[in-house]
């Protein structure tokens, strides 16, 4: 398990991270979300030892991360980077060797990942001749080729076409199924909701929400959609303790505070008109994110 314990970092007067604590257990996929500038990249760079925290610890399996462990992390930086003149397969082998693999293992593993990302026909081409999407596949192959126990991926889905997104999702799911701990940042919240076990939302360097996707969605206030006559809709809109999220002439989506429940809303609506549709909805991750960030 990877743990960040009260990690703080400032740049001059700017707080990049403030007492950030989160954990990434083995065999789980953790989505790391937050608005631009929230501190996601700084947190990941601190895990990799690329930046030093001002205070706080980063631990792997209960022990502080040292160089030997860090070398084994599969890392995909936010800024993609490859040697433009190197050949694809050669590049994957080179980084696998840097990660501590011996020559034979690196060669066979690199071959495997180049095939998995459908790059076999480009294996001996120079990186600079590949499209950006394909370069990104090479980048992910670099992160995976040495069979890491921990993957730290900064925006691995940005810039991929839908086929690439599916391929990347499948690869990450397989890694998690194989027991790896995976942490990735993303702005594609539907995707995070779909494939992640846990989510951590940060804003201004602080953790504002975390837990399993289900937990998060059930803690947020439920929203209720009512469709029917104008009288019913108006009545619901006017109830104390509701916040209107969206609405039209004959429908409304409201969020309830703790003072009333769905049945009371339904009763009030039916007392003032006819109701043709009534449903309760759990908030999506996108809604949770907006709420968490707005605070």
């Amino acid at each position: 398990m990877l743990e960040l314990v009260e990690v703080s970092r400032r740049y001059g007067g700017v707080v990049a991270l403030k007492d950030l604590s989160l954990s990434v257990p083995k065999g789980r996929m953790v989505g790391f979300v937050g608005p631009n500038g929230a501190g996601k990249t700084t947190a990941m760079r601190i895990v990799l030892g690329l930046q030093e925290p001002d205070s706080g610890d980063v631990r792997w399996e209960g022990r502080p991360l040292d160089g030997a462990v860090r070398r084994r992390i599969g890392y995909m930086p936010e800024e993609r980077g490859l040697y433009p003149k190197m050949r694809v397969l050669e590049h994957v082998i080179y980084v696998a060797r840097l990660s501590g693999m011996d020559a034979d293992a690196a060669a066979s593993s690199a071959r495997l990942w180049v095939d998995r990302f459908s790059l076999q026909e480009r294996a001996n081409d120079r990186v600079e001749t590949l499209s950006l999407g394909n370069q990104q596949r090479v980048q992910l192959a670099l992160a995976l080729a040495h069979d890491p126990d921990l993957l730290v991926l900064d925006e691995p889905f940005s810039g991929l076409d839908p086929v690439g997104v599916d391929l990347m999702s499948d690869v990450l799911k397989d890694e998690v199924a194989g027991g790896a701990a995976v942490m990735f940042s993303s702005h594609q919240l539907e995707l995070v909701e779909r494939i992640c076990d846990d989510v951590a939302i940060i804003n201004n360097g602080r953790l504002v929400a975390s837990g399993t996707v289900d937990e998060l969605r059930s803690t947020g206030g439920r929203s209720i959609r009512v469709e029917g006559s104008e009288g019913a809709v108006d009545e619901v809109t006017a109830l104390p303790g509701v916040t209107v999220r969206a609405g039209g002439a004959c429908w409304v989506v409201v969020q309830l505070d703790g003072s009333l429940d769905g049945e009371q809303v339904l009763d009030a609506a039916r007392a003032s008109g006819t109701v043709s549709h009534f449903s309760t909805e759990r908030p999506s991750l996108t809604e949770l994110f907006r709420e968490a960030v707005a605070q």
Binding site: R45, L48, G49, L50, Q51, E52, G67, R70, R71, I73, Y75, P77, E79, R80, G81, L82, Y83, P84, V95, L98, S99, L142
Partner: protein, 363 residues
């Protein structure tokens, strides 16, 4: 390598050996002078080959078409534009000889006495401080060594900077730094390219020296081994010193176009030190040169010559080596810190002070 071989062999293949002048001769009045010129002693600075022309017009035409370098026409000396000085000198000497012989003949001096006067005994020379027999050659070796150090640092130092900046501008450096620390990354670049630079130097020198010795262009004195060792030691010191600076300078740039900017201070110092090495040849014990001895960035270019010329006292050599080694030892953490502080700032050129601050504790 082909270039080196070419430089060594070209004079062998195309050179005309000693200086030979062709002189056209025409008219009776020129005859005695031409004969005297034909019989110049071996020690003369030029040898003259005469060629007879039936009349003045032919001789003039030959001068114009460069068939001959000059012509004697009825005792007058005709050249195309400017008289070759060496030729004028021997013609004057020959003229004196002709007039002296004429005078002596009219006074009826016996032939053997005459010959004794005309062939002077060689001047006996006693030198108070004779030059070392191979001194010039050793100095030449040291000077070539300094030139090569200068060229290799300019070329390979710049290459180091470009390599470091390329890793920054392509952003691959973040992948590398996740696997290793900045210090080994920088050391790897300096040592790798340094070995390449020294390897190339050794290979080219070996080819040049072997070709020169085999073809007899130079004779290599046995003392040369010592000089080459001195050059090599200073080459390694100098290259290490500059290479680390170039690596740090490379890290300060974020794009290849900025390398010119960030490396220019070192390049200026290097050129100044190289100029100082010319000063050594002029005045090996001058104030500037002695200051250079104790400035680590200048010493590697100054000391090989001073030592070879025998102008550096032992204590100065020892102090110079010690200071240069100390500078290298100091630069390892300093350059490492600048490199660490700047290497992840991939968007803009990093200022020296920012890099220094950011590099705190992270190399």
């Amino acid at each position: 390598m082909v270039v080196i071989l070419g430089i060594v062999l070209a004079p062998q293949l195309f050179g005309d050996g000693d200086d030979e002048r062709r002189l056209g001769v025409s008219g009776k009045a020129s005859r005695p002078l031409a004969e005297a010129l034909e019989n110049l002693p071996q020690s003369a600075s030029v040898s003259v080959e005469t060629r007879s022309f039936p009349d003045e017009a032919d001789a003039t035409a030959a001068v114009k078409s460069d068939d001959v370098n000059a012509a004697l026409i009825d005792g007058r000396f005709v050249v195309e534009s400017e008289a070759p000085e060496d030729l004028v000198a021997v013609i004057q000497a020959a003229g004196q000889q002709v007039r002296a012989q004429e005078l002596i003949r009219t006074r009826q001096v016996p032939q053997d006495e005459l010959q004794a006067v005309l062939d002077p005994e060689p001047v006996a020379v006693r030198a108070l401080d004779p030059p070392e027999p191979q001194g010039d050659q050793l100095e030449a070796i040291a000077a070539v060594g300094v030139l090569l150090l200068y060229l290799q640092v300019i070329t390979y130092g710049y290459w180091i900077s470009m390599g470091v900046t390329e890793e920054k501008s392509s952003r691959v450096v973040e992948v590398l730094l996740a696997k290793t620390r900045p210090a080994p990354l920088m050391a790897g670049k300096v040592i790798g390219i340094g070995l390449l630079a020294i390897g190339q130097l050794l290979l080219l020198s070996a080819v040049g020296i072997i070709a020169s010795v085999v073809t007899g262009v130079i004779e290599l004195p046995t003392e040369a081994a010592g000089t080459i060792a001195i050059v090599l030691v200073w080459f390694i010191l100098g290259f290490a010193l500059y290479a680390m600076l170039y690596a740090a300078a490379g890290a300060l740039g974020s794009r290849q176009e900025e390398v010119q900017n960030t490396t220019s201070p070192m390049t200026i110092v290097l050129i100044a030190a190289f100029m100082l090495s010319f000063q050594v040849l002029q005045d090996p014990d001058g104030t500037l040169v002695r200051i250079g001895t104790f400035v680590p960035l200048a010493a590697p270019l100054v000391m090989p010559l001073r030592i070879t010329m025998g102008e550096a006292p032992l204590w100065e050599i020892a102090a110079s080596v010690a200071l240069t080694l100390a500078a290298i030892a100091l630069l390892i953490p300093v350059s490492g810190r600048l490199y660490s502080g700047a290497i992840l700032r991939t968007h803009t050129q990093t200022k020296l002070r920012e890099a220094w601050r950011a590099g705190r504790g992270s190399h």
